[in-house]
């Protein structure tokens, strides 16, 4: 089973981190990552630039509306994610608990990643494949 651990923070979380030595942050994150890599469960992950809040595209209206990042709107932003391959949700939760995160508003969201083979069997792709195999004389 694959799970995504999504790191979430608020302006408050970020402010609390301002006085922390960045090298120290990298070191503790590095140790956490290394532990998961050594255990063979980490299959991916990225950090998102905390300095640049990015942009948000809002599809509520007829045409997409572009605005500056999540600041001032949601008060919460994704900081990064890990992809873990583990045997159960509980295992993903145990790894999440070990993340070196703390402070007001600091959160981790744990979501199961779906596989393409889980798509409903009447999915367009699966249908196409059936036709294809009939044409090839293997179905």
């Amino acid at each position: 089973m694959k799970f995504m651990l999504i790191m979430r923070a608020t302006d408050e979380t970020m402010a609390a981190f301002e006085n922390v030595d960045f090298n120290e942050v990298i070191a503790v994150m590095g140790r956490f990552n290394e532990e998961m890599i050594n255990a063979g469960v980490m299959v991916g992950g990225e950090g998102l630039d905390p300095q640049d809040p990015g942009v948000v595209v809002d599809y509520s209206g007829e045409t997409p509306v572009v605005s500056d990042g999540p600041y001032g709107e949601t008060k919460e932003l994704f900081n990064g994610f890990w992809m873990l391959e583990v045997a159960s949700k509980e295992e993903a939760v145990e790894w999440a608990k070990r993340a070196p995160l703390q402070g007001p508003g600091s959160k981790m969201e744990i979501r199961r990643v779906t596989g393409v083979d889980e798509f409903p069997q009447d999915n367009e792709w699966v249908q196409k494949e059936k036709v294809w195999r009939e044409q090839l004389g293997t179905a």
Binding site: G40, D117, W125, K130, R133
Partner: protein, 410 residues
């Protein structure tokens, strides 16, 4: 004091923790006692105690330390009992007991080598590896291999006795035997993977995901032995093979041949990881080994948009290298198939005939011959071969594929 739901939640948490920590805990206890069998026994006792206590009293603040301390205490008890029976036995130095698993990388690697000790049968190595390195319970292993829990327990008990009889202790192999011992570990991980990847899709829901566990073990090995090209080669092979899983069965669960698979269903991120592992194997500069070459073949398929766009000449060359390294009729047969794709069925047919002796009663030879004859337009001979393949095939699903090919001749 706690609801049934809370008890279940606490139990699942213990199991999850055990999955993460068991190798380090058993490894540390085996290092401490110098005896993997004893370490496994006392670790299981500690786990059993946790499963009773934690749902009732809550999970301790440092669960790993708790499990290790409990296991260590049980080990000391055992040593004292043994020493009382036989005073020649040395006392365990209780002062040097570890509070936390330290030197864990070495311990986990030694654990893998010991679980795959040459004194054990292959199936005992597999069961013991899943138990002590994977942290699986006997019933999980039993479900995965479709055998009874009692059978698994007997295998593990026998394995532990054999380790004792062989005086295996708890040590990493000497340099002169490292190659053979590593081959054994890689082979066990590969077996766990093939067992998992042959699982039927219907049964997969209740069977433990062995293929995923094998990938995890291969990642651990590649990390612990970064200088061994075959550790990376095995990981690459497992990732690249796994990437095709979503496309390998059709809607009814029947197998879909590589040439018919919808390549859009292949898992791109898994392919990327597999290719990265293959590059790591190549970077070591000792060429590719048994697993690395197979991974390189899998990579040829993974990067091709279709059967027609596949670099079949490269696959032929890789099978030639594989045949030189590990000669086998199955490799020769696969080489023949690759030759047929690269240069046409006419050139491949004599190659198939050459391996027919080594695989006389194989449905695979008959199946490939039938396919080549069909492509050569020799329909009557093709029919005879495919009929022979059907009659020789022991696997229902593969037989279905052959029967369809046969029906398509008309």
């Amino acid at each position: 004091m706690s609801t049934a739901a809370e008890t279940v939640a606490a139990r699942r948490r213990v199991e999850a923790l055990w999955r993460i920590e068991s190798a380090r805990i058993v490894g540390a206890l085996a290092r401490y006692t110098g005896d993997l069998a004893l370490a496994e026994d006392v670790a299981q006792e500690a786990l059993a105690e946790a499963l009773v206590n934690w749902p009732r009293e809550g999970v301790p603040r440092d669960p790993v330390a708790w499990l290790l301390t409990t296991g260590r205490r049980r080990a000391i008890d055992t040593f004292r009992r043994r020493a009382a029976l036989d005073e020649r036995l040395p006392q365990l130095d209780t002062g040097s007991a570890p509070e936390r698993p330290d030197d864990t990388d070495d311990d986990v690697l030694t654990l893998m080598f010991t679980a795959c000790h040459p004194a054990l049968s292959r199936e005992a190595q597999v069961a013991l590896t899943l138990r002590v390195v994977g942290g699986l319970a006997s019933d999980e292993i039993a479900r995965a291999f479709l055998v009874s829990t009692a059978t698994v327990q007997a295998r593990i008990t026998r394995a532990k006795k054999s380790l004792g009889a062989a005086g295996a202790g708890f040590e990493t192999p000497q340099a002169d035997e490292l190659g053979a011992r590593l081959a054994s570990v890689l082979s066990v991980v590969y077996l766990i993977f093939t067992e998992g990847s042959s699982a039927s899709s219907g049964g997969a829901l209740i069977r433990f995901d062995l293929a995923s566990e094998a990938r995890r073990l291969a990642r651990v090995l590649a990390r612990l032995m970064p200088g061994e090209n075959e550790a990376h080669g095995l990981l690459a092979l497992l990732e690249l093979t796994s990437a095709r899983f979503p496309a390998r069965t059709g809607a009814d669960g029947e197998p879909v041949l590589l040439e018919d698979q919808d390549r859009r269903l292949w898992d791109r991120s898994t392919i990327r990881r597999g290719r990265a592992a293959l590059r790591s194997a190549e970077r070591i500069g000792r060429g590719l080994g048994y697993y690395g070459l197979q991974a390189a073949i899998a990579e040829c398929h993974a990067v091709a948009g279709s059967v027609a766009e596949t670099d079949w000449e490269r696959i032929v060359a890789l099978y030639e290298a594989l045949g030189t390294l590990a000669p086998s009729p199955v490799v020769e047969l696969n080489r023949a198939v690759a030759v047929s794709m690269a240069r046409g069925p006419g050139e491949a047919l004599p190659l198939v005939d050459a391996v027919a002796d080594g695989l006389a009663d194989s449905h695979q030879v008959a199946g490939v011959r039938g396919e080549l004859l069909r492509r050569l337009g020799r329909t009557a001979e093709a029919r005879a071969e495919l009929e022979r393949a059907v009659s020789l095939c022991g696997n229902d699903r593969e037989r279905t594929v052959l029967t369809r090919k046969l029906a398509a001749l008309d």
